[in-house]
């Protein structure tokens, strides 16, 4: 860990900051926000991953089964930077004040620091951050991934993050198209995974 990766010389951005509400291509209202800490939304996020189609897993994540999902998220939750998308329930006919009026979580994207001791990070700009993004199957190909990714990068920039990297399976064309669109460039050696990186302004 901590290996220096290559980054584009030119920074990308600016990207929008959460919170935002967007309308996806199916006309659904999608609210994107950044929880202060993932722990506050952990149950809802675990539930989303529990519904995730296992055929859409990427390099072993998300794990399957509620316990393993929870365990995985708790391990990385502490110092991670997150954005969550909710599908806001249709119409405000029923304005009951139930706590669940947020709607269900339908997508999640996060950054995890590549640091041996994440608790000791002084400046987010010193660290390289690994990105992952997941959109629930019924909500894919409606533009949500693109919006969510941009908001994650906007939020990252707000908290002083400059270098973001990821690996993606070489045949995962939807993901690669998405990453390239916002400014990620291929970096590092190609094997089963393609490494990509972006520099934020």
């Amino acid at each position: 860990m901590g290996r220096a990766r290559l980054y584009p010389d030119e920074p990308s951005g600016p990207f929008p900051s959460p919170p935002s509400t967007i309308e996806d291509r199916e006309g659904r209202d999608i609210e994107i926000r950044a929880p202060g800490e993932l722990t506050t939304d952990l149950d809802a996020v675990v539930e989303m991953y529990d519904q995730f189609d296992p055929t859409d897993r990427a390099q072993g994540i998300p794990p399957t089964g509620e316990d393993r999902i929870r365990n995985w998220l708790e391990t990385i939750a502490d110092e991670s930077v997150n954005v969550i998308a909710h599908h806001k329930p249709d119409g405000d006919i029923d304005v009951d004040s139930s706590a669940d009026s947020d709607g269900e979580v339908i997508a999640h994207a996060m950054l995890v620091p590549d640091a041996d001791d994440p608790a000791a990070i002084e400046d987010n700009g010193d660290i390289e951050w690994e990105l992952a993004i997941f959109v629930l199957q019924d909500y894919q190909q409606a533009g949500i991934g693109t919006h969510l990714l941009k908001h994650l990068l906007g939020h990252a920039s707000d908290v002083g993050i400059e270098r973001v990297w990821l690996t993606v399976e070489r045949w995962n064309n939807p993901a690669i198209a998405l990453y390239e669109r916002v400014g990620f460039e291929a970096s590092g050696t190609e094997s089963f995974e393609q490494e990509m990186s972006i520099r934020l302004e």
Partner: protein
């Protein structure tokens, strides 16, 4: 079974070797250990060779220990082709900070080119 294990010098290599030694003890496989030349590794080829010697003697297991020079993937596959091996064992990838499994270019080369069954150790 005649088993060839390839070690590049990472922590993963140590885990792979330990598991392979355990299995050798359980089932009585014939074991050959190839220490590869991988300059970017945590352990140098010499250090990996020594550590492998130590682990073998600790376990009281007899194995052939060889050093392979040159490109690690092709050197290992070459060696596998020349011997009468039934299985080639290598490390099964590292975990990224996110928990993603990452297989490097050597693993890819070995999987695509090896003449034998390949085992990835996790």
């Amino acid at each position: 079974m005649n088993v060839l294990v390839g070690l590049g010098g990472s922590d993963e290599s140590i885990k792979t070797l330990r598991q392979t030694i355990d299995r050798t003890q359980d089932v009585g496989d014939d074991l050959t250990i190839a220490v590869l030349e991988k300059p970017e590794s945590k352990r140098s080829q010499d250090e990996m060779y020594e550590e492998a010697t130590d682990l073998l003697s600790e376990a009281g297991v007899d194995a052939d220990l060889v050093r392979l020079e040159g490109d690690p993937g092709s050197a290992l596959v070459d060696h596998a082709e020349q011997g009468e091996f039934d299985q080639l064992v290598i490390g099964g990838g590292t975990l990224s900070p996110m928990g993603k499994i990452q297989l490097g270019p050597i693993t890819e080369f070995v999987l695509l080119n090896a003449p034998t069954t390949v085992k990835l150790v996790r």
